[in-house]
Symmetry: C2
Subunit: 126 residues, 2 copies
């Protein structure tokens, strides 16, 4: 079931899904805080590796997208990792501009907590 | 283009994709280290919220899956967050057993670095 070369090899062989995408987790290089989750097609992956800045594929707009093009919050990539089955990457970044990576004006896109245990279902804000 | 209620509301309204899935990032509650990326369907999300243990949907096996069922490395969830557009969640966990969340026997699934800048393409292992 598991592919040894995929998992233990030193070749990058991204397993793009049916839509040609892999997942990209973006975390702050200094604190490790997870900032956002986005998607990359082959071209976005290539550009990110080559330019060390975060490029993605927008599923809603169906277009290639450089983070920060309009907001100024470019992602400077210092480290990039691939996971065992090569369908996800992890980017360690510093965010330029005001350091806010979420388009809502927050530092991280993960600003609401889901109550655990069932019962109460209202999200709580950071 | 952005949905105010989705982003600023206190209701959990996960935006499952065409396959009925959202992305789930798993990070260590103590260190913040990203351990793995998996997917959740509605039932996996419900079970994770109710039981505070990590349940997922396996895209390869096409089945519901409780992390640690066979390995013993159950994910105890202390915090769960949803992102701005509600198509991803972030789980802060402690991993039971030997603390290794990757099926390859490593702590994290992200154990190989992608060289940046182009040119050399060989992945380097942690």
């Amino acid at each position: 079931m598991h592919d040894k070369e995929l998992e233990e090899g030193s070749s990058l062989n991204p397993r793009f899904d049916a839509n040609g995408l892999i997942s990209a987790i973006v975390a702050d290089e200094a604190t490790g805080e997870v900032l956002m989750l986005a998607h990359m097609n082959e071209e976005a992956l290539k550009r990110t590796i080559e330019t060390r800045e975060g490029w993605f594929w927008s599923r809603s707009r169906k277009s290639l997208w450089k983070k920060g093009e309009s907001s100024g919050n470019v992602l400077r990539v210092s480290e990039m990792k691939v996971d065992c089955d090569q369908d996800a990457v992890l980017l360690k970044v510093s965010v330029t501009g005001d350091g806010k990576s979420c388009h809502t004006g927050r530092r991280s896109c993960f600003y609401r907590a889901i109550p655990l245990g069932g019962g109460n279902t209202a999200l709580t804000f950071d």
